[in-house]
Amino acid sequence: MTDDYIKQKYDPILPRKDEWPVVKLAKSRKDFVQNVASFSKDKIISMTGNNLDLLKEELETTLYREKLRVKQNPWLVDPDDEEEFWSGVKSALVQISFESQATEEERKVAYHKILESITTRYSEEIASNFKHSHYKATRKMVTFGFSRLLNAGRVKGLGSIFSKQYTLQDKIQIIGETERLRDLASKGTIVMVPTHFSNLDSILIGWTISTLGMPPFLYGAGLNLFNIQIFAYFMNALGAYKVDRRKKNLLYLETLKSYSSEAIQFGCHSLFFPGGTRSRSGKIENKLKLGLLSTAVEAQRANYEKGFNDISGKIFIVPVTINYHFTLEAPSLIREHLSLTGQERYYKETDEFSNSYKISKFLIKFFTKGSDISVSIGQPMDILGNYVDLEGNSTDRDGRMIDCRDYFMSNGKVSVDPQREEVYTQILGDRIVEEFHKINRVFSSHLVAFTAFQMIKKQNSKMDLFSLLRLPEEDLVIDYSDFRSTCQTVLNRLMEIRAKGLVHVAPHLKQDIDKIIAHGLANVGMYHSKRPLIKTSDDKITTQDMSLLYYYHNRLDGYDLEKLFK
């Protein structure tokens, strides 16, 4: 992967929309939803070992939690008949326990019926509503609207609004294995796994996928985003299915996983944010949520079971990192991280991304002012994290071709072993984290934030993190010349790590150090009212918000750079 991006026009790999897997899926939506529902029903029954008491307990737990959720944490997007539905479930459950003369078989049928009604409801709720006309409109609007803004902001003089000097690709630079990704997307099924820092990521990735000429991917987006109308429109247009983080019950989680697994088997390219939610701390994800990831492993095994042994049945994992100089929601994310209230289960939306007006205002600012975004596409891997060659074959470290099917073989045939797949998913998760660090692209803003924070930390070496964040302003000052030389040291180490192929740097890091620092200071958290890092008139470096500085500093966590400050 090179550091420099190539501005390029990509032709669509599937020009006819009827060939798009998402379009096909949308056409057979009803059958598909039904499939998911019955598949998850069977799975849950097998998980309870066909034990009726266990199933009953699971149903009752679900009912209890759902009633609690409806009462305590209702959202705008929730359907109107929530209360009604769950009351229905309740009376059905009550009725079974009252019918004392019912035989075991009759009770079983009754419980399975309730189970099915719940999984059907969940499947229906999760399923995406892809509409091609909306997709086309959104695409046009994004590309046209944003490039107008971009050119108006940057090209001087009259007529600038129609200038074509800048396109979105100057602002959002796509680098890495783009051709490989396109190539494999036309042969097999892609599961893209990007890092997740901002709510903007969903749209950004959607734009990236369409710019690369690929048909839309299926992906899960937090149901909370559908509360915001402008987001709901975008998400639906991009083919998002809904993930409701309030629902932690087994029935829901299994239905969600079945949906994802079945969609991959259907041939839909998918996208997960494997960190689950946005990174609260600003660190690159290092602990992944393995639930959805496991569906990729499961789908691969299912494809082999069905006899798809060629590339059309193969699943490719593609890690992607998104790098910003800023994250709009940073202040609230880092506050949440630091207070660590552990209330993820019922967390309330408190971030600045809370309404359409704010987002529009931000987007206008973003496109008319400086600051860039980069999207790095990593090397495609198989479901155990082996790199694949140009033809999509898995290869080992010595370049020897290996048959992915063999991972699922025992006694000479493909076998199903959930525990095995669990371990495989962990292995895949570790590999993704490793790749994230390699393809991560360091920006000047990360460099200055990291250096400044570590210097302040060193000046106060006896303090723990929380005392550090509460330091008074006058203790947060660094001399520019010290700062300059330390930045150089950190940069040198980064370049060493880069030489080993373990990280990437943006081209602007190849200027001289003063320019890099100036660029970094100008960009780090540039839209926050309190800037994480500034240079004062008397040539000192200081911060207006230590927590924010910590947040942006965290981006370079995981490279052992802190050792330079010991």
């Binding site: 080992d396 020897r400 048959d403 063999d406 025992s410 045939k413 072993d417």
Partner: protein, 354 residues
Amino acid sequence: MTLKNSSNNIEKPVGVIGIGSFGTAIANILAEKNNVIVYARKQEIVDEINEQHSAEGRALNQSISATTDPQTLCEMCEVMFPVVSSSGFRDVMKKFAPFLHPYHILIHGTKGLVLNLPEGRNLDNVSKIHRENIWTMSEVIQNETVVVRVGCLAGPNLAKELAKGQPAATVVASRFNEVILEGQRLLRSDRFQVYGNQDIIGVELSGVLKNTIAIASGALAGLGLGENAKGLLISRGMVEMIHLGNALGGQTQSFVGLAGIGDLVTTCSSTFSRNYTVGYRLAKGETLDAINDSMDEVAEGINTVRLLKTFLEGTGMRAPITENLYKVLFEGFKVEDALYYLMKYPFNVDIDFL
């Protein structure tokens, strides 16, 4: 290649890689229920096995055959037991790597650590080593081959007693249930119990770390210090194993199981154990070189002490028994002095990890 992926491996032979004393014992246990093929490097040993049903004089079950060709072994067997010394383990795995596939299951029986440093570096010219530089055998397999379904055998398995058919038990550790079940299916018999454990790193480390304590135990016996002293050593040794083991990624539970305390007690009491013998002879005044020259198989503990000492320096952790053993083995420190030092070492609490 015709045998690859054939539909049924119940009839498939089981492979054993390496035919030292433990390899012989394992091959014999496996041969009670399965066809066994042994891989050996030297043609004369292969001939001896195929013609006389013995390996360097140790009797082998009639049904065991042997080969010098890694490819043959990999094609015939789906499950293999590598049982070679830790010093040769990595090379053997490299030799097998081109013929191994992800459907293979490897269950090794080697107790040792391998140092993984960049080209041209060794223990003499590095000052610090980190966890990623120390590989257990399962990590060697995972890093050198495409095999992921890896397991290990550990437990009090003195080869001489196994050879006599005396009752014993072992632990098969693996992150994969299917590997544990396969190990149990192949090995379990009326005289041989097989337990399972998912913490493979912890189980491997138990087997490795107990070797150092065994050397110390031999030294105590060599000095004629009696059973109280041995009890002291075993319990302090256990504490040290757990601290070191946790630092290297093992779980405490594994160290108090059969592969940990079970193996430790056995090895520390047995005059059959090579590591114990090293300690014993050191205490009797022999030099390490003289002892090494007269032993036909390596005592893994010596290598382990050396490796751990360098690792400890990089972490700032203390492990008094290992540190003192290092001085005795490599710096000409007298066993008596090391013992005196241990008696003075301030252990304040008995146990602080359960």
